[in-house]
Amino acid sequence: MHDTTVNEHGVDDRAPIARLMRRAAFGPRPGDLDGRGLDEVCADVLGGLADDGAEMPTDEDRDVAPAIAWWLDRMVDGPAPLHDKLVLFWHSTITSSADKASGAMMIAQHNLLRRHAGGNFRALLGAVVVDAAMLIYLDAAWSRAEAPNENLARELMELFTLGRGSYTEADVKAGAKILAGFTVDWDTAEVGVDEDARNHGPVEFLGESGMFSVDRMLDVVCAHPACAPFVTDKLYRFFVGTEPTEERLAELAALFTDSGLEIAPVVAAIVTSEAILDSAAGRPLLPIEWYATYCRTVGQRVGPDDLWNLELLGQLPMYPPNVAGWQVGPRWAASGLQLVRAGRAISSDDGAEVQFDAVSSGERIDSALARCGLVEIGAATRAGLELAAARFGSFGGGDQLLLALALASPEACCS
């Protein structure tokens, strides 16, 4: 696959390793960049694709705050970063909100995504359309066939599977009928079926007609020619940050289809190629990705207090801004968010205790960069670090400054 040309400092592979870990995981952890070859790191990263069976915990108050903190902690220092990354992808794409569904429902949905994240897409969809949080969030709970609510049917096709242009408004109405009849018990989060509210007649949906169960509906959706390219395109953009070429998309879509809509092979294909080889940093980090690196870098223990910071950064899990969730793209590099990040980077109490075991400015700067997992920086970033290193020594907060600057740098928010 790749030559493991590691010199005594491991320098040759450090840049692609850092890039891989920012794209396919949540950034390099202490020691990840030291003397390891790319092949070894890649195998390690792919090993983290498997579901380790972890369950987001529910506490007796069924409060989501500790649950979200649990997930953030796994991003900072968990055993299976690629799996958690994939769960983040699904939560960012097939989303629901704790503003509408209960905490217990949102935690159950998260665990559903954990079980299916790297598995089969058809199975994932089947689980999601009967998930309590999703039924509540997209107004499908208690929807009746005679005047059904269209929200779930529409977003299922527009955002989860096919994209605009591949279905008609008539399909949305038909899909809404097929999905009618589910009920949700608010206290137990149990999903039930009200036979009186279900559709009992034939419909026409995506060019097929007759009697439709929810299963048949999802089969038809998944068999639609737009489905495989749509889903693989989203996966690609999430991991790489740019759009795939037509050829590459066709390749990945074929891989997805031929495997029977298995997610892991597509992710592995992307991770072992573009995530490493595409060296033009084109993927702004999602806010929570930057924040996980920040927590790890300053050595902060993750707790419910972090949720306020995540909200300010624009990505508090379980509270999506709208039904499109959070998509990778240049909007996360906007000016206003840079101000938030720069403010956060300099405000850490844990960061205030940082002191590098180094004397010269050059060594102190190298230490700061190593702490954040930054391998390559531009001239302007280096000049900024040198300015600060010259004005403040290690004692008196100078190393905290360097670390904050490294975290606030343009390089630290792109991969």
């Binding site: 269209e150 940050g241 624009g314 909007r331 206003g336 531009g378 001239a379 302007a380 600057l405 343009p410």
Partner: protein
């Protein structure tokens, strides 16, 4: 009493303007960078030809989710709609008369002594039920063509009005709005100003060093990828603009809150808007995402009433505050929403996605109805009416009548006659 930042600071910061502050919307990195570096963009109008009206301000309140304009300002000919909505319309006896033949939702009673223009029949003439597509059209301002794909409608307006101010267009709330994506004028999407403590305390060497180092880091750097270069440029404009706004918010008692300010997210944002306008730093367009959920698929009547009450209280307080500071004649407020809601109610006492809707303009205007009433007798297969007035014509009308500049630079549409110019002394 109006507050002013130090003129020396203003001039110093104004010298930094011209950085492409593309605030980051959609597209690929290549598109974004190309928009910054190669697109000539709209040339700002020569200062000598600018009418005085270009010093006016437009506040755009974005009611995300699809506001039901038929509930906000019920149609004059209401019988057909009432038949389709047995449970979701406001009580006709409770509507409030704001003059000019305009009766509004009772939640907006606080606007009764203000001018309200109801703009009827507005929407995308090729409607689509998707929030994202419809919001994209509003932001981009060009339903048919992809020509303006990397700039937003409000962004183009800012480029046209640009007089070199560090911030011409401001979005208040979270990440920047794609509507402000532009080429040349300074724009900013704002976080909570309290977070900017580190930005300007000249007495603290340590935080001053942080700022100086960040500013150095934000200078041009050879070898950057186009995305990294974009991020670097955004950092530069962030530092310049954040300093101004931090100063503005720190005035008065330092809390950013104004006496008498109503509760709620909208009022908070309008309070910052008031302070920014008072500081007179050149902001001309303020985009305010409402922060409420207008997507009332269920329980419409109660949820919408709550939203109307918040809107009425905040908008009327905003107008009062502007009057107190002598700015009331210079600020126009317009609402927008990605679509309206369907005439017939659904089984959940709610309203699904619609097409045409009624928008609202308030400020130094005389009340009246403009646009074209919707024909409820002729509904399409989805149960929606045809859209008589394109969204582009609505914004075009505001640009021409309020700012006195050619709307066709910003949108490709014949401006709708709104009656703003007729009611306000121009000059």
């Amino acid at each position: 009493m109006p507050q002013h930042i130090d003129r020396r600071d203003f001039l110093r910061l104004a010298g930094f303007s011209g950085t492409a502050a593309l605030a980051g919307w959609g597209g690929t990195a290549t598109t974004a960078a190309a928009a910054c570096s190669t697109r000539p963009g709209l040339a700002p109008l020569a200062v000598s030809t600018l009418p005085a009206t270009t010093t006016r301000v437009l506040v755009v309140i974005e009611m995300g989710g699809g506001n039901d304009g038929f509930s906000m300002v019920p149609p004059v000919d209401g019988a057909a709609l009432a038949a389709l909505r047995p449970t979701t319309m406001p009580d006709p006896a409770a509507l409030v008369d704001v003059g000019g033949g305009v009766l509004v939702h009772p939640g907006l009673s606080a606007l009764a002594r203000r001018g309200v223009i109801a703009v009827e029949g507005v929407g995308s003439v090729t409607p689509d039920g998707s929030h994202f597509e419809m919001m994209r059209r509003w932001w981009m301002g060009d339903a048919a063509s992809a020509e303006h794909a990397t700039t937003g409608m409000l962004g183009r307006l800012c480029d046209l009005l640009d007089q070199g101010a560090p911030v011409t267009g401001l979005s208040i709330g979270g990440a920047s709005s794609p509507a402000l994506a532009n080429v040349s004028a300074g724009t900013l999407g704002l976080p909570d100003p309290g977070m900017l403590w580190w930005l300007m305390d000249p007495d603290d060497d340590w935080s001053q060093t942080y700022c100086d180092a960040l500013a150095t880091m934000a200078g041009p750097s050879a070898g950057d990828s186009s995305m990294t270069a974009l991020v670097r440029r955004n950092l530069a404009s962030a530092l310049e603009s954040g300093a101004i706004v931090r100063d503005v918010a720190a005035q008065g008692d330092g809390s950013g809150r104004i006496a008498g300010q109503p509760d709620g997210a909208l009022a908070e944002k309008l309070a910052l808007a008031v302070q920014v306008l008072s500081a007179d730093i050149g902001v001309r367009v303020i985009h305010v995402p409402f922060g409420g959920d207008f997507d009332t698929h269920e329980d419409h009547a109660a949820r919408h009433a709550w939203l109307m009450e918040e809107f009425g209280a905040a908008a009327s307080w905003f107008a009062d505050e502007l009057d107190r500071r002598g700015l009331g004649d210079d600020v126009l407020v317009m609402t927008t929403s990605e679509f309206g809601r369907r005439p017939a109610e659904n089984g959940d006492a709610g309203l699904d996605h619609g097409t045409a809707s009624t928008m609202m303009i308030t400020g130094p205007v005389a009340s009246g109805r403009v646009g074209e009433p919707v024909d409820f007798a002729r509904l399409d297969d989805e149960g929606n009416p045809a859209v008589p007035v394109s969204l582009d014509r609505y914004i075009g009308g505001v640009i021409e009548e309020w700012f006195g500049v050619p709307a066709t630079e910003v949108v490709d549409a014949e401006p709708l006659a709104l009656g703003i110019g007729a009611s306000v002394a121009v000059g």
